[in-house]
Amino acid sequence: MINILPEFKARGNPSTLMNFLVPIIAVILTIFTGSVIFVLMGFKPTFALYTFFISPISNSYGISELLVKATPLALIAVGLAFCFKNNLYNIGAEGQLTMGAVFGGGIGIFFHDTSGFWVLPLMIVGGAIGGALWGMIPAILKVKFNTNEILTSLMLVYIALLILDYLVVGPWKDPYGYSFPKTRSFGESGRMPLLFQGLRVHFGIIIALAAVFASWFIFSKTMLGYQLKVTGFSPTASKYAGFNQNNLIYIAFIFSGAFAGIAGLGEVSGPIGLLYRDISPNYGFTAIIVAFLGRLNPIGIIFASLVIALTYLGAEDAQLFMQIPAAVGFVFQGLVLFFLLGTELLVNYKISFRSKL
């Protein structure tokens, strides 16, 4: 019988090597499992893996698409790191993203026939405020009423999606859009500038990189980062040290919400240019995987966002060339998180296997 029941021996210190290796092991195991699935479906594994992982990024257009998808993922994930480091399970980034798009996009619609360099910055600020306000709700409820942030942030996702739905079929509907559930387009001043002619990669990537760098600075060089880290490791130690627990909750959710809000605004003012029902292909939920895969480390999150963005592109190509549903991307995303979580304890424990429960 295969021994599947491991025995743990605590390491003295968390293994730095494992901390680095675990995400790589997870990705390798995912690719291996993915090949097995492809073989079971009757595809040649080399062809399938090539279609999924190589061909989508084999030209400049593909690389640009990869960056377009990685931008919101990295931005949201690095925001989530503020919450997750502090053991706050904000799983409502999708809602914060939606409200960012609503606030920022609303400004874009209002100024659709105005041109000026200030329109886009105003929209970005609006997006950040929208996301941060939506993120503040679970934080306030947690501080004032002791509610569980997992459930409140999740409920707020559905409420935000319904608000967006109401706006695009109701008051904000494009007056010339026939009966399509979409708003009018933003003006030229309300669009993210493109970085290269003919490619969709836009200014949002600069914002995302700036946010990632700023977060790296906060986490590793400031008192706030230190407080978040201590509170995450040991709430008791944090209390004795006199850190203001409530402020840490507010700050984590404000960063998280604002970054998700900017990501939402980036989506609507970047590739799309207007508001409609399905502005995000689950970026807010997928970013949770990115945050974990990047080990809550801003640099790790950049790499993780590229890997996960590739699952979106690979799934699209798999649909085109192999006639399998694009949902195969979700299978890969789920698998990579399973393997990551399953191997995570290698960081703190040595493992030997035994056969009895």
Binding site: I4, L5, P6, F8, Y89, I91, L141, K144, F145, N146, T147, N148, I150, L151, T152, L154, M155, L156, Y158, I159, L162, I163, D165, Y166, G170, F285, T286, I288, I289, F292, I324, P325, A327, V328, G329, F330, V331, F332, Q333, G334, L335, L337, F338, L341, G342, E344, L345, L357
Partner: protein
């Protein structure tokens, strides 16, 4: 409103609410043992697609439900292995299970979209859902094993010290939850719809999770919560049919808003939430720590 319309509405509410009851009562049992499984939506979808595909291939309703429940056991077994044996984070693992389930069900079900089947009479399952809620309630509050289940959810260290196997009991709780979610899914694809469509559970798994909190982890209150939610969503559809010009989105928000309000009410009194929620919920159990 005449009496026929009223009866029609009640019938629709009964049929539409039953999957919520199945999924929520399953998740309640899981949470009572101290484990939060956010994979409800994913397990429902895989349950729905496996029942549907089995029915199309074999033509047997019984086999369809059996395979569906087996799929729920496999999915929740995967979750159990990760959280109980490999001590992974329950929140993240549950999310992974949902994402994985959405993808897997869409892949399996792709060739079967639009395949016609003969739906099953739903009333057997409506009655079954009431019976299961009653049995779960009886189990928790009238049997010794039920007491042990609750004890494991409250304090795994004390239960372990008393000689109960925390891991085995949590495993049972998780597997029961998985089977109930799969049953909810198979009811949707075989009785309620009856058809297969990608993402056909449409967020019901998340509502089921909310219902467990709404019910403050009491089995009987699952029925009350589920029927309030089911009633409101059906009422909203009817109001539109009767020509009332109120945006439906605001009605659809009602279950989520109601859950938040209930959460605030039950959580604001720290003592009350401590008495209601299983004290070890989401805390992993390390033997010999």
């Amino acid at each position: 409103m005449n009496i026929d319309v009223l009866f029609g509405v009640i019938q629709i509410i009964l049929i539409a609410t039953t999957p919520l009851v199945f999924a929520a009562i399953g998740e309640l049992v899981t949470e009572k043992t101290g484990v939060l499984n956010l994979g409800v939506e994913g397990m429902m979808l895989v349950g729905a697609v496996s029942a549907f595909v089995t029915l199309v291939i074999t033509g047997s309703y019984i086999l369809a439900f059996l395979v569906s429940i087996l799929s729920g056991i496999l999915m929740s077994g995967l979750f159990a292995y990760l959280v109980l044996i490999l001590m992974s984070n329950q929140v993240a693992t549950g999310l992974a299970l949902t994402i994985f389930g959405i993808g897997l069900s869409s892949m399996i079900g792709k060739p079967y979209i639009g395949t016609p089947i003969t739906g099953l009479n739903p009333y057997f399952f409506v009655i079954l859902s009431f019976i299961i809620v009653f049995l779960v309630s009886y189990f928790f509050y009238k049997t010794k094993l039920g007491l042990i289940f609750r004890a494991v959810g409250e304090s795994h260290d004390s239960s372990h010290a008393l000689g109960y196997s925390v891991v085995k009991i949590r495993l049972l709780g998780i597997l029961f939850g998985g089977s109930m979610c799969a049953l909810a899914g198979s009811y949707m694809s075989i009785c309620y719809a009856p058809m297969w469509q990608e993402n056909m559970t449409a967020g019901r798994g998340w509502i089921a999770l909310a219902l467990v909190v709404f019910a403050t982890w009491k089995p009987g209150r699952i029925l009350i919560g589920a029927y309030i939610f089911g009633g409101v969503s059906i009422l909203q559809m009817n109001l539109q049919a009767w020509g009332l010009n109120f945006p439906g989105q605001f009605f659809n928000m009602a279950p989520y808003l109601a859950t938040m309000i209930v959460l605030i009410i039950i959580s604001s009194n720290r003592l009350r939430i401590k008495l209601s929620a299983p004290a070890s919920l989401t805390i992993p159990f390390f033997k010999g720590r």
